[in-house]
């Protein structure tokens, strides 16, 4: 062995840089990682999600069990009626998922808000934009990364449980009938939950980019939701004019779900086009604000 010393205190980097680094993925992963650091809020926020998911799974499971006749002898005369009644009450898979998404709309919003509120606000407060934008990332990379970080938790709260329900349905349905007959519903479920998670993420990030602290962003988000829902309800009542309900994010979401899963309530006075326009308007506004704010963050850096 030849003697050598390695006393150099600064070592040059001899490796190479990636050809096509997906920089936004790095930002997204590190944002998501930060979320996992605190356990208590995660426990509190995800408990209702878990409960809702378990209930939906059980209902789907029972229904298929009943339908396949494993639980009750389907041939006994009284049982048939009861089975029919119970399965009716339990509802089919899609309606269970639909109910779940509606029930979890608020919780998933809160989850995205909790994990996403600080993403831009705290970066601004602590000067992280100075560090990020001295790296070769574009503003789009930054936004995508932050969005991915927040949306990941929305995905955990909404899309993932829906997929769980679907897989329970797949495995318990006789002869894989669920996946064979209703595969399109699975895609619709993914699309539908993604739209909600995406909308909520964009809204949360926008509010986060406008304030200087996570707590302020949280207050802002809750304020925006409560205010818009309240105002829309009051105005709709006062003027007996349903179009005010377009202001209400949750109702837009509900209508979108009804439309996508073919359960449109014919009493509704607002059309799906108007709903889509309202959501599209919200997206445009939010993305515009985000673009302006992130540009400012870059220039200040």
């Amino acid at each position: 062995m030849r003697a050598s010393t390695h006393t150099e205190i600064y070592r040059p980097f001899t490796g190479t840089l990636r050809e096509h680094p997906r920089r936004w993925v790095t930002i997204g992963v590190s944002s998501a990682k930060q979320g996992f650091k605190r356990k208590l809020p995660a426990l509190l926020l995800f408990t209702p999600v878990a409960i809702g998911c378990v209930i939906a799974c059980f209902r789907v499971y029972f229904r298929f069990q009943l339908l396949s006749g494993d639980l009750v002898n389907i041939n006994s005369p009284g049982a048939a009626g009861i089975t029919l009644m119970v399965t009716e009450t339990l509802g089919d898979v899609v309606s269970n998922i639909f109910t779940y998404t509606q029930g979890m709309a608020f919780f998933s919003l809160m989850i995205v808000a909790w994990y996403g509120a600080g993403l831009i606000a705290e970066d601004r407060r602590l000067g992280a934009n100075l560090l990020y934008f001295s790296r070769p990332i574009s503003r789009l990379d930054y936004l995508l990364g932050k969005g991915a970080g927040a949306a990941f938790f929305g995905f955990l709260a909404l899309t993932l449980p829906c997929l769980l329900v679907c897989s329970v349905a797949t495995f318990t349905s006789p002869e894989w009938s669920f996946i064979v007959e209703e595969w399109a519903s699975i895609l619709k479920v993914i699309l539908f939950s993604s739209i909600w998670v995406g909308t909520v993420t964009v809204l949360v990030l926008t509010i986060s980019s406008l304030v200087g602290r996570k707590s302020h962003a949280l207050i802002g988000i809750i304020g925006a939701i409560v205010l818009s829902s309240g105002v829309s309800t009051v105005l709709a009542h006062l003027f007996n004019e349903n179009s005010f309900s377009l202001l209400n994010l949750f109702q837009n979401f509900e209508r979108l779900g009804e439309w996508m899963f073919d359960r449109w309530n014919p009493d509704r006075k607002v059309t799906i086009t108007q709903t889509a326009a309202a959501l599209g308007g919200l997206w445009t506004l939010c993305l515009f604000i985000l673009a302006v704010r992130v540009r400012k963050m870059e220039v200040v850096a």
Partner: protein, 333 residues
Amino acid sequence: MSEPVISIRNLVKCYGKIRALDGFDLDIPSGPVGLLGPNGSGKTTLLKLLLGLLVPTEGEATVLGFRPTQRRDRLSVRTVVGYMPEGDCILPGMSAIELVSTLARITGLRTEDAMTRAHEVLDYVQLDEERYRPTDGYSTGMKQRLKLAQALAHDPQLLLLDEPTNGLDPKGRRQMLDLVEDLGRTQGKNILLCSHLLQDVERTCDHVVVLNEGGVVEQGKVSELTAAKGALLLVEVEGESARFIEQLQAAGLQTSEGTEGGLRIQWPDADPDADRVFELAQQAGVAITQLRQQRSSLEDVFLRAVGVVPHATSDTDASPSHGDSDDLLGKQP
């Protein structure tokens, strides 16, 4: 001189009607360079332009072969430049090691490289066990060293350091200056250092550029700018200085009172002979505690360059005029 690290041609940046950079040409050589200027002189704007964060109104800049002023190179220039911002900045909720490795990965290092590299640069800036703790609880000194570490994460060829000693106590400042000096002088990094503490620049940089009102008002090697001018010896004496002065004058040397009690001896030719001074001191029976040729400090150079007459009682021995202080005192009640 070798190829300039940064070369700037007619760079103009306007904010509305204000011309933050007023169209100058500048070649910045390799090695450690100090970028000086009063607040609002355009230093920050220049740094941002070099990083591709701002688009210039006019003109071109080339940094190590990249053109940050053009859309194509705006981002890629940042793979060869490390930036240490002035203000406090951390990534929320992260420990030092996470912060450095995350930023290294964003720059394009592979995950394993990023981890190795993060540990290496944190070793270099001497953040030891603290690197695993969240950065929120760091002292100013630790935060500053962390900022330097992240700027080094991708081993850039050029470092832009904005006020690296800001807010540090004497010990922290010494540590930071040791690092900057080592990077520039031993590791051969190109450094552009902005600092309000001219002593720091004098210690760490070989070359300085002075900006004022959006233009370059002075540039050159520190050693040349502060070089001794004329044959003026500054001597500090202990004991019977009156006799000493008499003897000096008898020997045909002109003397005058320096600031802070020192004695200035004017030599008739360009090459002062200090041995003669010691000889006279011996005859006069006085002790000499300090002796050197008069040099201007970087502060004098700077103040002159930005149009302020240096004050005599700064820690150097510049001209003895007290004139400038009147400026501040004239309006005294």
